[in-house]
Amino acid sequence: MRIELQPAYILHSRNYRDTSVIADLWTPEYGRLSVLAKGARRRKGGNKHLLVPFTPLLISCRGRSELKTLTHIELAGRSVSLQQTMLFSGFYLNELLLRLLPIADPHTLLFSRYGQIIESLQQDIELEPCLRQFEWFLLQQLGYGLSFSVDADLQQPVIASYYYQLDVSRGFVACGDGCYQGTHLLAIAAADYSLATTRQVAKQVARRALQALLGSKPLNSREMYRQMHV
């Protein structure tokens, strides 16, 4: 198979042998790919500086096995450097994608959303709404989308004064002792994260919904972020 000048982001890379790198790439049309970049770490002519996460790239590669050989790589647009906290958020997104996206499964829309969020992580933005929106979109694209405005049992609109609980496989269900108030769910549905409690609810919901897909192994980047902000 030959892939020519496909847009790509690097999700993760590791050194291989003396001068090579194996990178996990994500492309819109071919999904996640592993490529071997031969001689990338050579002092002369190496392209290690391009093989970094969060940078929009154009890549060409070929090969029949699962591990392709990188034949060409160039920058598509500006190179990106994420700073400080944003860097850890970037790691979080990459870890999520590496854990949740199946190999060679194309997600064109999700790819362009990822490009947008990486772009916005470079500016000083409010982080949480941004991450939550991406998480909802990711869940939806993987087929586990949550509806924040419809009661999953009754198929009725969510009512602001009611309490709901989350059934990860179905959605929100009205329940007397539920822990999420309808008003917060409606705020999330309207992408209004102005209240701190709404952000809190959104975080808990996202965590539970993703946990169901991630299994018991925790996300390392989240753990590291938490340790840093104790």
Binding site: H49, V52, F54, S79, L82, Q84, F88, N220, Q227
Partner: protein, 197 residues
């Protein structure tokens, strides 16, 4: 094909990076046929090193003493501490000959996706040094990779509450380089961290 002892030597040599079966065979035959004294020296040196060389208790670099030569050198400035990823980085900085302070070697960098966390790179030991010793400035000389930046940021966040000046080495245009041939990322960095003259 060879006798068992020679075969064992060949497979033992293959632990070295970049040494495959053919190179291992060439090395083994060379040592046995032409370089007996050298082989003996190599064997002795390997044995002694593996037995005696450990980590410096203070900076974690490789040494056969409990505290390495750099850490115990009283002529070095004890108020400066430079954090690097590997012992090879110390060598590079020493060859440049400018820095006169002391070091701390992480032996790696933070990499959340690989599961390498702060406890794996001795951050707690570094914090203990910062709390106990009289250190004025902490210089973060991790590599300018994404993981290196993350490591520098993490250490910075941990060190700031301890009242230490935290600085990061500059990145930019190499001396004698031509702007035309420098990659965009490096140039952007050089511009964003420019300084007034």
């Amino acid at each position: 094909m060879f006798s068992p002892l020679v075969d064992e030597l060949i497979s033992a040599l293959r632990v070295l990076p970049g040494v495959g079966p053919k190179s291992a065979q060439r090395m083994a035959l060379h040592l046995l046929e032409r370089e007996r004294p050298g082989a003996e020296r190599l064997a002795k040196s390997l044995e002694v090193c593996v037995e005696r060389v450990g980590r410096c208790q203070r900076c974690r670099t490789l040494t056969e003493e409990p505290i390495c030569g750099t850490c115990s050198n009283i002529r070095r400035d004890g108020s400066l501490l430079c954090v690097v990823e590997t012992p090879a980085d110390i060598l590079a900085i020493e060859q440049a000959g400018y820095y006169q302070g002391k070091y701390f070697v992480l032996l790696g960098h933070l990499s959340p996706i690989d599961g390498i966390g702060p406890s794996d790179i001795g951050i707690d030991q570094l914090v203990t040094i910062l709390q106990g010793d009289d250190i004025k400035e902490l210089i973060l000389a991790t590599n300018p990779t994404v993981e290196g930046e993350a490591t520098a940021h993490y250490i910075g966040e941990r060190a700031k509450p301890l009242g230490v000046i935290v600085s990061r080495i500059a990145h930019g245009v190499p001396l004698g380089g031509e702007l035309e041939y420098i990659d965009g990322g490096t140039l952007a960095h050089a511009f964003s961290s420019r300084r007034t003259l």
